[in-house]
Amino acid sequence: MTRPMPTRRATLLGAATLPLAAGLAAPRARAAGKTIRIGVLNDMSGPYRDTTGQLSVACTRLAVAEFAASKGLTVDVLSADHQNKPDVGAGIARQWFDRDDVDMIMDVPTSSVALAVNSVCREKNKVFINSGAATTALTGKQCSPNTIHYTYDTWMLARSTGGNTVKSGGDTWYFVTADYVFGHELEEITARFVTEAKGKVLGHAIYPFPGTTDFSSFLLAAQAAGAKVLGLANAGTDTVNCVKQAHEFGLAPAMRVAALLMTIPDVHALGLATARGLLLTESFYWNLNDRTRAFTARAKPALGGRMANMIQAGCYAGTLHYLKAVADIGADAAKADGAAVVARMKAMPTDDDVFGPGKIRADGQLLVPSYLFEVKTPEQSKGEWDYYNLLATTAPGEAWQPVDPGCPLVKA
């Protein structure tokens, strides 16, 4: 009887102090009316932790540190883990807007979560800059006057990897596809580009997702089909497992492996001995040109010995452009009307060290070049993180899906 008492008392005490703490926090938020608050919402603990996660936050902070003070803006950066669950993501977004006075949400990998956050931002008239999610719906049927889509999407990946690989001789394909919307969409669009470039799709294997760890059966089937390119329409660990096992079964050099969604942390995880020769598309690589190297040199202290991929670097670029628009219309106006900031962002040309010069289309798509890379062999690599050879560049005008007539913003 006596033992539960302290616990219960502690709970009561905690419950009693809770409103007090909230009461303390609320006036502070109100007092700081002119502070712009940015929330980086992504995966901090799950499969996309390394491709988004803390490095996205670090890149966002870098943009704030470089730009805000010079324009007299005070900017806070918050972050949270959406655990790849749409309900959790939408819940955090609401809480950020209603209670924490957040003005812009950044990153948001996992398409289902991004679409949920997209509607919340529109409803609350805030700003959503997506860098982490791949779905083209954000600039298509579900496009919104409050949303900008940075960095990449499934169409851009398929266009760059599919089209350019056929041009360089990889004209027969076999797909290994994860059995969910993302995998099917990626395969379908890539196959279209392959056929358009006069290549041929010889077959595909659709495997259950999640829950598949061994891909050797599908790799053997691809080998038996005699295709020159193995297209991996999947992501994360599945892609890593596929590449590892393709290496084990000696698919190269008869077959090239095209990973339709893979970024530099995955290559780092595989090691060059296994990843060598892989084809992949990113819109940013740290060693691409003087500007990307300059960005990386500035970001380096915050990256903890790793390198930013396009998504994380895209958080820098997106935040920078957002802050430029905020400085332009003033912090008070920006806090009052998210759509006005987005409209201003679309009106201004973009320019940053990550993507170079670019512009944002009426549907919210950022137009910058995309790059097809080949992973270096261990002999070619001159140091840690020296991973890519540039194979092809797709100009901004061709890299992105033509405006989707399904997007209501375009008709207006």
């Binding site: 603990s45 799950g46 499969p47 996309y48 932790r49 390394d50 491709t51 059995d179 294997a205 659709i206 495997y207 259950p208 999640p210 829950g211 598949t212 760890t213 061994d214 050797s216 059966s217 599908f218 053997l220 089937a221 038996a224 994360g236 660990t237 890593v240 497992n241 590892k244 096992q245 084990e248 079964f249 000696g250 942390p265 995955d266 780092h268 995880a269 595989l270 090691g271 001995a273 296994t274």
Partner: protein, 295 residues
């Protein structure tokens, strides 16, 4: 070229062999689970996390101490086994007198904690681990190219399964273990230190998981979640084989690997489900599992 049900023979043989290789992993993992359940009555949900630890310890040995694959095969199971020993002594041993459910909850929680710690430290995208140089390359079997490493995995798994079975069924130590499961107080009355034996059994089961982890490191992504993708299938294997039956879990492990391999030829979309379909059928017709003794 001959065909079977419209599938070219060589392709079918290839898939059968691949099924057998995957079955080797299922067999080794379910063997550890069966040993632990048979002797401790604990449903060890942490098994996948310990499998992952085996792979990670191999990676750590290589990267922090320069110790290669072959020594890792010996050292990683010992290190993870020692960790299992500590787990058993400090936590799991407190639950023997309680319902199964508590052991299940505790080990499930442990799995989450272990995986979370590794994710926090090493990230989610995984670590590179190469196939040892002696086992690189492939052998042409006529109907398929078999990577030498996969051949080695099957041989190693068969040897380990056989050795474990012999140890438990044919040695004096094994006889004492089995007797202790039947009637611990009586065995203790004969002067056998039953708690110590139980601790070592848990450590042994854990070491088996770690060994499977080291074997898996060169072919699967070494990441904190690698165990959880295996563990569901492995539990199905143990249930189908009959909870606690060693021979049952080994044979079922290999058998289900083959069934899964064949499904990948005929209808790949169902390859993750087929194991559970088999489990449902077995539970309906033989609730104690294929090799289990009815309670």
């Amino acid at each position: 070229m001959f065909t079977i049900f419209g599938i070219p023979g060589p392709l079918l043989f290839g898939q059968l062999l691949l099924g057998l290789i995957n079955g080797a992993f299922y067999a080794m993992l379910s063997l550890g689970l069966a040993v632990i359940f048979g002797l401790l009555n604990i449903i060890n949900f942490a098994h996948g996390a310990l499998f992952m630890m085996g792979a990670f310890v191999a990676w750590m040995l290589l990267n922090y101490a320069g110790i290669g694959y072959w020594w890792a095969l010996l050292l990683a199971p010992l290190i993870v086994g020692a960790f299992g020993l500590v787990l058993e002594r400090t936590l799991i041993s407190r639950l023997y007198k309680l319902d199964h459910l508590y052991g299940l909850l505790l080990t499930f929680g442990l799995a989450l904690v272990i995986e979370g710690l590794f994710r926090n430290e090493y990230g989610s995208s995984g670590m590179p681990y190469q196939i040892p140089s002696a086992l690189q390359g492939a052998t042409n079997l006529g109907f398929m190219f078999l990577p030498n490493y996969r051949g080695w995995v099957v041989v190693a798994a068969l040897v380990v399964c056989l050795a474990t079975w012999l140890l438990i069924e044919k040695t004096k130590l094994g006889a004492m273990l089995r007797a202790a499961t039947e009637n611990a107080p009586l065995v203790q009355a004969f002067g056998v230190n039953v708690p110590r034996m139980v601790t070592l059994t848990y450590a042994g089961g854990v070491a088996l998981a770690a060994l499977a982890g080291v074997l898996a490191a060169p072919i699967y992504s070494v990441n904190p979640n690698m165990g959880s993708s295996f563990i569901n299938t492995v539990f199905a294997v143990v249930v189908i084989g009959g909870m606690g039956s060693i021979i049952g879990s080994v044979l079922t492990g290999f058998g289900l690997g083959v069934i899964e391999g064949l499904t990948k030829v005929f209808y790949p979309e169902a390859s993750a489900t087929v194991v559970f379909v088999v489990m449902a059928i077995v539970l309906l017709t033989r609730p104690a599992g294929l090799f289990g003794k009815a309670a």
